[in-house]
Assembly symmetry: C2
């Protein structure tokens, strides 16, 4: 087992280093990845050879081709050029003369990231951790063992090259290690699982450490009475077919009864693209050739070319359906009625709520967050796509001149509480 | 058992009501508390009579005298006058022409608050919950049963008077109810325990729902080589004696060896005020009459007129001692050396870190947060004294005009990502 006390000590060194040192580590990592490009490719070929029998989708995630490797180096250069978040002041208040309170950004501490298949996650996660002063313990999938090892080695070399402690980035292997780490709330501050809903759920259920993630994405598209039919078709097809296994893919299409005369266009467009329709009772007479949806279907993230459809009497019924069956991930309304749109945006209590846009936009890159740490459906800390701010917390720094509380309780002094920033 | 589905439904109504309706509920609550002042006083007298044998400190927390009752009404008027946080935009980004992403403040949802003794907490918590659109399930101590009941009744009446759903504020009684609620992560989004370290620890260990709180406050005052001796005395006395049972009271005083010649002044000032000194090995020859501190003492929140003292060779040793024995709550340095102060502020990884100020300042009111939801030593969501922002999360609202992700993956369109706010 890795020595978590060493990881914590390395984190403190990384967090209290100068911003320029963290930047230098990121630039060095880009250099090292260029220098060791052949070794990285070789290790990845080993994993691909061992995983010859994997499904094509898994294999494409596992592959670290020249384009992906170049993309990772580009990302590192961008992150090295971005401003350092540590100790940046969020607010400043003058509590009294000579007594100033600042709230500053700080790293969270030690983060355990558990991910599957994609070895590029090593570089993305480790580089975000370095930029934000966090230590990271990485547990990758066994199918990517060789790739993960060589990439973590690159990261540790980059820290060493700039005289930072390499133990701020550690790789662990094997399920037993994860089980032990999940019980170490004393040294692990946050767990980020990236992978299947099953992986996330099992981690959420197996630890008391806060988990940033989402087990499910049961996303809805609600087609309102006053929807533009052509737009509804576009949003339905993009939401379901653009990348069906994504967490932000549309799983259920709710249709206002006034739109039902046009629903055939949506249904045809989907079936033409190979989507299986599963329709609720109230739509069965309209779409008689479609399979009947069960109550379970409406709770399910199909992650495939299957979509549930249901008719609703009004927007309130759509909002209730989403509250009952949804996962509070991403839900969209298609309508030309501004009042209906604003009601939907206000009343649907999901991490992302859209008007006339595909549910597929719920993503850190598309939101312009620079990098995505994960998508959270928890209601605390961070919600929806989470960028580097999900790896940050705040601390309060108070600078005085011998101030004591007794002077304020006695009435000798009074607080001023002037907001300076 | 209360019907949590009703609580959730009431929360959605409260959250989606107009800001003016939440304001009206807060004003009505002030009116109702004025109207029912006699009934509140009577209920509180019943609790005080039943608790005649309680310790004086507990009795003073339990008492809801005329001054406290008037203070609660003042607080309600202030909160009614404060701006409503819901749907306030935190940021706005133009992703592309006609596609605008807004991040808005939102309530968390349903919050379980478990508190001891102080019935005024009912009004403070419920009013913050109303302002922030959260439902709250309150579990108070049995010693305040009559007071809690009449106060929760006032809150529910205030919601009814403005046609909001009273089920947004519920009282539960009995330990069995708490146990069941702690297992209901599907309907409770956050638990806030307010009370002893023992209460908080038992709750943290008994639930997978996120807990906002702190089990311990092992706070340090480090007296540096270049400390002003008179100031060191003031900070030590205020930190330990102002309110010894508070979580932000100073538990351990670390002394740089260069300050040791002056340590007698600090020790005398403390012993004059009845403080028992427990000193580490390296100070025993300097303060031979003091009791020896055990390793356990340095881990302990005494919550009484007892203070640990230890000598350190330099500031680095002080920082290491705090990392090892502290609870990351609040730690202070006393020094006239700006470089030492800045190093301490940067390297001590606690929720609050102070220079030349008493640890007792770590408090929501003193920080100017308006109200204090609690003090958090968790590293995620909120850290240190937490005001109403601890009851808020964010949602992402995206407004488009039929935008689909396929256009961006195909290269037909490109994201602009212009920060508008």
């Amino acid at each position: 087992m890795i020595d978590l006390a060493r990881v914590r000590a390395a984190q403190r060194k990384l967090a209290t280093a100068k911003a320029s040192e963290r930047t230098a580590a990121l630039s060095s990592l880009a250099d090292i990845m260029r220098e060791q490009d052949a070794a990285i490719a070789t290790a990845n070929h080993q994993d691909l050879a061992a995983g010859a029998s994997l499904e094509p989708q898994l294999k494409s995630r596992l592959a670290l081709d020249a384009k992906k490797r170049a993309g990772l180096i580009d990302g590192l250069m961008q992150l090295a050029a971005s401003s350092d978040p540590i100790d940046v002041e969020v607010s400043r208040t003058k509590l009294d003369d000579g007594l100033v309170l600042a709230k500053v950004q700080s790293p969270i501490g030690v983060i355990l990231v558990i991910f599957e298949s994609r070895p590029d996650a090593v570089i993305q996660i480790a580089s975000l951790a370095i930029r934000s002063g966090n230590a990271v313990v990485l547990k990758g999938g066994s199918e990517a063992t060789h790739s993960n090892r060589v990439l973590v080695d690159c990261v540790r070399q980059s820290l060493e090259r700039v005289s930072l402690d390499p133990d701020a980035v550690m790789l662990v292997e094997g399920r037993a290690a994860v089980q032990e780490l999940l019980s170490r709330g004393d040294v692990i501050d946050l767990v980020i699982p990236r992978g299947s809903g099953q992986l996330v759920r099992s981690i959420q259920e197996g630890t008391r450490i806060p988990v940033l993630g989402h087990a499910e994405g049961v996303c809805h598209l609600y087609i309102d009475a006053r929807a533009d039919a052509a737009m509804a078709v576009r949003l339905a097809v993009d939401g379901k077919c653009d990348y069906p296994s994504a967490c932000n893919a549309t799983e259920t299409i709710l249709v206002h009864e006034a739109f039902v005369p046009h629903i055939g266009r949506v249904a045809d467009a989907l079936t033409e693209r190979g989507v299986e329709l599963r329709v609720g009772e109230r739509l069965q007479s309209v779409l008689p050739r479609a399979k009947a949806a069960s109550d379970d279907d409406f709770h399910t993230e199909h992650g495939a070319l299957i979509v549930n459809m249901q008719m609703v009497g009004d927007i309130g019924e759509a909002i209730s359906h989403i509250a009952r069956y949804g996962s509070a991930h991403t839900d969209a309304i298609c309508t030309q009625d501004p009042a209906a749109a604003e009601r939907f945006l206000r009343e649907v209590d999901s991490a992302s709520v859209f008007h006339n846009a595909s549910t597929r936009f719920a993503d850190g890159f598309r939101y312009g967050l620079g990098a995505e740490v994960g998508v959270s459906t928890s209601r605390i800390h961070a919600r929806g796509p989470v960028g580097v701010e999900g790896l940050l917390t705040t601390r309060w720094l108070l600078r005085g001149d011998g101030h004591i509380v007794g002077d304020y309780s006695s009435g000798a002094k009074r607080f001023k509480h002037e907001r300076m920033k």
